[in-house]
C-alpha cells in the first residue's frame, strides 16, 4: 500500500491557551428509562440450572404451597442482553459526577475527599467480599484483626476508651450514641426523668432527628451573635431533665467554639452526658480530641474523614467512640483479642444490643484502616493542616466575589469549612443560592446550598478538604466569580440554567402532588393512563 506524499505545513500550529472557564458539557445520552429498552426474550445472565437428578428428586416444588403464595405471572422486569444492561448503566454513570471527576468542594459538611483506588481494590478481594459473617473464627482472623486495629487507631484519634464500628453510617452512629446514653441513664434509674436532648441549629439534622426517634424532647440552641451555639440558651435549657448535649465543633460554620469545655461542664454538672458529632473531624486530626474537651461519646463517619467512597449515598460506615463508663452499653458483639487470637464477644449484659445486622460495613472498615496506615500520625496531621489551609485560602478568595459573604466571626480564621451567604447577591440580582448551583453544573462541578433550615440566608457551604490542589480551588472560585458576574450582568442565564447539563429545568410541581408524583415507572404509567 502506498501513501500519498503529505503536504508540507512546517511547524505545528500552537493551540491557544485554555480559557479561564472550562467549556464543559456533561454527557447527555438522552437515555430512556430501562423498561423502555426491554426486548422480549433477551437474557442478561443465565442462572445455573439444577442437574436433572435434582429436578427429578424435587418434583413439583410448589405442591405444598397455597395458591395465594404461588406467583402467577413473572415480575414485569425488562428483558435485555448483557451488553445492553451494561451500556445503559455506563451511560447513566457518565451522567454523574463524583470526586474522581470534579472539584467536589461544593458539598460542605460531607468531607468529599479522594478515596484511594488501592483501598477499593483491596476491599474487593474475595478474602473479604466472600466471607460469611458466621464463619468459624479461625477462618476470619484477618478481618477481625483489621477491625480491632482500626478500633485501636480510632481510640487514639478521639482519645476515648472503646470504639464500635457497627453503625451503618453517621446518622446510625448518632442513634447508637443516643441509645447508649439512654441505657446509661436507665441503668441509674434516671431513664424517665431525663427526657431532654439539647442540640444546636448548625449541627447535622440527624442529631435532632435521631434523638427524637430515641424518644427525646429536642431543645435546639440558636447561634449567638458571633455564630457560636448560644451559651446563655444552653444555661436556660440545662436541667435535671437533660439526658445529653449532642453537638459538633466546629459547627457547619467552620468556627471553632473555644468555650466548648464550658458547654460540656455545664451539662455534666447537671448530670447529663455529652456527645461530640465528629462528622466534621477532618481539620482537627491530632490537634484536639473528644477526650480533651471532656466528651463522653463521639462518632466519626468513615466515609468522610477516613476517605471511604460515598457511593451516591452509601454504603457508609459510622464509628462510635465511648468513655470507659459508657463501654458496657456498646452494641453487641465487640471485637476482642486474647493475646493469641481475635474473637467476638456476645456476652454483654448491659449492651444496647444490635444497631445493625452483623458487625458493620466491613468493606469500609478495611478501606479506612488502609487509609490511616498509608498516612500515620504525621500524615493525619498533614491532612488536617492542609484541609484547614485550603479552607482559609478559599475563604479569602470567595470573599473577594461580589455578593458573597461569610456571616459571623468577621476576620476570624475558620477550621475545615465555611457556611457562606449570597444574601447580598440575591437581594441585588434576584439570583438565589440554589440557582447558582444549577449554573455551577454547567461548568462541570457540584454545588449544594446547605442543610435546612437556612439559618444563614441564601447559604452555600464549601469544604475543600486536603484532596484538592490550589489550581482546583482557583478553578472553583473562578466558576463562582463568573456566576456572580452573570447574576449582576445577565441574570437570565443563571435563572434558566443548567444549559450544559444532562437535563434541563425539571418541573418540580409534580413531586408534591399525590396525583402526579411517580416514585416508580409503573406508578408513572398508571397515572399517565388515568390522565388520558
Amino acid at each position: 500500500m502506498t501513501h500519498p506524499s503529505p503536504k508540507k505545513l512546517g511547524a505545528p500550529k500552537a493551540v491557544a491557551p485554555k480559557p479561564a472557564l472550562r467549556r464543559f458539557h456533561q454527557a447527555r445520552w438522552d437515555e430512556p428509562v430501562i423498561f423502555e429498552l426491554s426486548s422480549a426474550g433477551q437474557r442478561g445472565v443465565l442462572p445455573p440450572e439444577p442437574e436433572s437428578a435434582i429436578v427429578q428428586a424435587a418434583g413439583d416444588v410448589f405442591d405444598g404451597l397455597p395458591a395465594s403464595l404461588k406467583r402467577k405471572t413473572a415480575p414485569a422486569l425488562p428483558e435485555m442482553s448483557q451488553l445492553h444492561v451494561l451500556r445503559h448503566y455506563l451511560r447513566l454513570s457518565q451522567e454523574n459526577l463524583g470526586v474522581d471527576l470534579n472539584v467536589d468542594i461544593g458539598q460542605g459538611t460531607c468531607t468529599m475527599k479522594y478515596s484511594p483506588k488501592v483501598n477499593d481494590q483491596l476491599a474487593r478481594s474475595h478474602k473479604l467480599s466472600e466471607l460469611h459473617p458466621l464463619q468459624p473464627l479461625s477462618t476470619v482472623q484477618g478481618i477481625l484483626e483489621v477491625m480491632y486495629r482500626l478500633e485501636e487507631m480510632l481510640k487514639e484519634i478521639c482519645g476515648l476508651d472503646r470504639v464500635t464500628l457497627q453503625p451503618g453510617a453517621g446518622s446510625a452512629a448518632i442513634f447508637a450514641n443516643i441509645a447508649m446514653i439512654r441505657a446509661f441513664h436507665e441503668s441509674r434509674g434516671e431513664g424517665r426523668k431525663r427526657g431532654d436532648v439539647i442540640t444546636s441549629s448548625f449541627s447535622h439534622p440527624s442529631n435532632a432527628a435521631a434523638a427524637k426517634v430515641a424518644g427525646y424532647n429536642i431543645i435546639t440552641l440558636p447561634p449567638d451573635a458571633d455564630g457560636y451555639p448560644d451559651l446563655e440558651a444552653l444555661k436556660a435549657a440545662v436541667s435535671d431533665r437533660t439526658a445529653a448535649l449532642l453537638i459538633t465543633n466546629p459547627e457547619d460554620t467552620g468556627i471553632f467554639n473555644p468555650r466548648i469545655a464550658e458547654f460540656v461542664d455545664l451539662v455534666h454538672r447537671a448530670g447529663g452526658l455529652c456527645a461530640y458529632d465528629q462528622a466534621n473531624a477532618n481539620g482537627l486530626l491530632g490537634i484536639t480530641r473528644a477526650r480533651e474537651a471532656g466528651f463522653d461519646v463521639c462518632h466519626f463517619n468513615l466515609h468522610k474523614t477516613f476517605s471511604t467512597p460515598h457511593g451516591c449515598g452509601g454504603p457508609a460506615s459510622g464509628a462510635c467512640g465511648v468513655s470507659r463508663e459508657m463501654a458496657p452499653f456498646l452494641p453487641t458483639p465487640t471485637v476482642e483479642f486474647d493475646g493469641t487470637s481475635y474473637y467476638l464477644d456476645f456476652n454483654r449484659p448491659q449492651s444496647i444490643g444490635k444497631v445493625r445486622s452483623w458487625y458493620g460495613v466491613t468493606g469500609n472498615m478495611l478501606r479506612a484502616y488502609a487509609w490511616v496506615m498509608s498516612l500515620g500520625a504525621e500524615g493525619l496531621r498533614e491532612v488536617a493542616e492542609i484541609a484547614v489551609l485550603n479552607n482559609n485560602y478559599l475563604l479569602n478568595k470567595v470573599l473577594e466575589i461580589r455578593g458573597a459573604s461569610a456571616p459571623y466571626a468577621k476576620g476570624k480564621r475558620r477550621i475545615e469549612q465555611v457556611r457562606y451567604s449570597w444574601e447580598k447577591l440575591a437581594s441585588d440580582t434576584g439570583v438565589h443560592s440554589e440557582e447558582i448551583g444549577f449554573r455551577a453544573a454547567d461548568f462541570g462541578t457540584h454545588y449544594w446550598t446547605s442543610h435546612h433550615p437556612f439559618v444563614v440566608p441564601e447559604p452555600m457551604t464549601l469544604e475543600p478538604t486536603e484532596s484538592y490542589s490550589r489550581q482546583d480551588l482557583d478553578e472553583y472560585v473562578t466558576i463562582l466569580k463568573n456566576i456572580a458576574n452573570e447574576a449582576y450582568t445577565n441574570p437570565e442565564i443563571v435563572h434558566t440554567a443548567p444549559h450544559n447539563s444532562t437535563v434541563h429545568k425539571i418541573d418540580q410541581e409534580s413531586f408534591d402532588d399525590p396525583d402526579a408524583w411517580a416514585v416508580t415507572w409503573r406508578a408513572y404509567q398508571r397515572k399517565l393512563k388515568k390522565d388520558r
Partner: protein, 464 residues
C-alpha cells in the same frame, strides 16, 4: 535531625513550596494561626500514637494482603451458612457498574449534575416495584433490620397504635435491633409458632391482637427458611382488627413466590443482599420498604423517594425528591424518623442485577433454589439420626436440620464438617432451644448436585 519532608500522594498541597505560597496568600505565618481559637487546655500536646505509616502503595498492599490472607473465603470452601446473609452468584456486570468512579465516588448530588444517580435509583425503585407488585419503593436504608424497624414505626404512626406483633421465629438479632429502635414509641410482642411446622399459631395471634395492635409482622420466607403458608389468613386477621400487615421478604424468592401485595400485605420490607451483593462478612446489606401509592403510606416514609417528572425539553426525563417535606433533611426532628447516607450504591447494584436477570431469570433462580433445597432436605432426612424438623412446611432457601438423633451437638457436627473443608449451618440451639440440636442450612443456586452430595456424605460421617 532534619528529616525529608514527605509529599503525600493524596495531598497535593503538601508540597512545601505550595504550602508556603498559600499561607502567604492568606497572610498567615503558619498553619497554627488557623487554630488560634482552640484553647490550649483542650489541645493534644503530643503526636498521636499510631502505627508507622506504609507510605508506598506497594508496602500497603503487601501489608493488607497479608492480613486478608488469614481469612478463608466461602469461595475457597463449601459453605452452607445463611441466616439472612447468603452466598449467591454476583454477576460481573454488577461489580463493574458499582466500581465506576462516577457512581462510587459521588455523594448526595443534585438532579442536574448527578442525573445518573437519580435515574439509576428511580429505576431501582421501579424494578423492585415490579418484583414486589407495589407502586412505592424507597431509596435503600441500611439493611433489612432497619427496614423492618421503620416499617413497624410507619404502621405505628398510621394507626396511632403502639403494639407490633412479630413471629417468635424472628432472629434474636433482628428482634434486638427492632426493639431498640421502636421501643420509645412502641411495644414488641412475639406470637408463638407451632413447633411441628414453624407456622404462626393463629389461635395465639387471635388472642394477642387487639385495638392496640398497629402491625402484624411476618417473614416470608421466615428466618428458619420455611414459607408462612397462612400468610393470607394472617393478613385478614390483621385487617379485621384494623392493623397494618407488614411482610418481610427475601426478594430473590419473588420470581416464584407471590409478593406480599398479592396476599394482603400493606407494607413489604426486607434486605437486598441476595440481589447481586457480596456477603462482605455481613457488610453487604441494604434494606427496602414498599407500599401502595397512597398518601397515608407515602407520607410516613423517612427515606428519600426519587420520582420522575418532565423537564422543559420535550421527551426528557427529570428526577427529584417526592414529598421532601416529610424528611428530617427538610424539617429536622419534625420529620419522619431520620434520613441520611445509607446504602444507595447497593440499590444501584440490585437494579443492575434485576435488569440482568429479567423475568425469566428470576423465575428460574427461584425455582432452581427450591429444587436444590428439596433435594438436600430429601437426602439429609434419610441420614440416620438426622431429621428435618419442619419437614412438612415448604421452604425457600434455608431449612433447619436436627441432629438430636445422632447424640451429637451442632458444634461437634460443624467441627467435623469444618475439618473436611465445609462450613455447616448456623447453630440454632441457643436461640431456638425448642428445636434441640438444630442448625440452619442455606442452599442457593451456587450449589451443585455434587456439592449437596458432598454435604450429605460429610454429615453422614459426622453423625456416626
Amino acid at each position: 535531625m532534619s528529616r525529608k519532608k514527605i509529599v503525600y500522594p493524596y495531598i497535593p498541597n503538601s508540597v512545601p513550596a505550595i504550602k508556603e505560597a498559600m499561607l502567604k496568600a492568606v497572610n498567615a505565618q503558619r498553619v497554627e494561626d488557623f487554630y488560634a481559637d482552640i484553647p490550649d487546655t483542650i489541645r493534644l500536646k503530643r503526636q498521636m500514637k499510631l502505627p508507622a505509616p506504609l507510605l508506598s502503595e506497594a508496602e500497603l498492599v503487601r501489608h493488607v494482603e497479608a492480613l486478608l490472607a488469614k481469612n478463608t473465603s466461602a469461595r475457597e470452601t463449601l459453605s452452607f451458612l445463611g441466616a439472612g446473609c447468603a452466598q449467591h452468584h454476583v454477576p460481573a456486570v454488577c461489580d463493574e457498574v458499582n466500581s465506576r468512579s462516577e457512581f462510587l465516588t459521588a455523594y448526595a448530588g443534585e438532579p442536574y449534575e448527578d442525573h445518573g444517580r437519580f435515574q439509576a435509583l428511580f429505576e431501582y425503585e421501579s424494578l423492585m416495584a415490579e418484583l414486589l407488585d407495589m407502586d412505592v419503593v424507597n431509596v435503600p436504608v441500611y439493611d433489612g433490620f432497619q427496614a423492618t424497624g421503620t416499617a413497624l414505626r410507619m404502621a405505628g404512626r398510621i394507626t396511632g397504635r403502639p403494639v407490633a406483633l412479630l413471629p417468635a421465629t424472628v432472629t434474636p438479632d433482628k428482634l434486638s435491633m427492632v426493639h431498640g429502635y421502636i421501643r420509645p414509641d412502641m411495644i414488641t410482642e412475639l406470637v408463638p409458632f407451632d413447633p411441628a411446622t414453624g407456622l404462626m399459631d393463629l389461635n395465639a395471634l387471635r388472642r394477642q391482637i387487639s385495638a392496640r395492635t398497629a402491625a402484624v409482622f411476618i417473614e416470608n420466607p421466615s428466618y428458619l427458611g420455611f414459607l408462612e403458608t397462612q400468610a393470607e389468613e394472617i393478613g385478614q386477621i390483621a385487617h379485621e382488627n384494623g392493623a397494618i400487615f407488614v411482610v418481610g421478604v427475601d426478594p430473590i424468592s419473588l420470581g416464584v413466590i407471590s409478593p406480599p401485595a398479592q396476599y394482603g400485605g400493606d407494607i413489604a420490607c426486607g434486605d437486598i443482599q441476595s440481589l447481586g451483593l457480596h456477603m462482605n462478612y455481613g457488610g453487604g446489606h441494604a434494606g427496602f420498604i414498599a407500599t401502595r401509592d397512597e398518601v397515608k403510606f407515602v407520607a410516613e416514609f423517612p427515606s428519600r423517594l426519587f420520582g420522575v417528572a418532565t423537564t422543559c425539553v420535550t421527551g426528557e426525563y427529570g428526577f427529584g425528591d417526592v414529598a421532601y417535606e416529610r424528611t428530617s433533611f427538610a424539617v429536622r426532628e419534625d420529620g419522619k424518623e431520620w434520613v441520611g447516607t445509607a446504602a444507595a450504591l447497593w440499590g444501584i447494584t440490585a437494579a443492575v442485577y434485576l435488569a440482568l436477570m429479567g423475568p425469566q431469570g428470576m423465575v428460574e433462580i427461584g425455582q432452581g433454589i427450591m429444587q436444590r433445597v428439596r433435594y438436600a432436605i430429601g437426602k439429609l432426612n434419610q441420614v440416620t439420626g438426622v431429621k428435618i424438623p419442619l419437614l412438612t412446611t415448604p421452604h425457600f432457601k434455608e431449612f433447619a436440620v436436627n441432629f438430636d438423633g445422632t447424640g451429637k451437638t451442632v458444634g461437634q457436627i460443624n467441627q467435623s464438617l469444618s475439618e473436611k473443608g465445609l462450613f455447616g449451618g448456623k447453630d440454632l440451639s441457643t436461640d431456638f432451644p425448642s428445636l434441640g440440636q438444630s442448625a440452619l442450612y442455606c442452599v442457593t443456586e451456587v450449589h451443585t448436585q455434587a456439592d449437596l452430595d458432598r454435604l450429605v456424605a460429610a454429615i453422614q460421617e459426622a453423625a456416626k
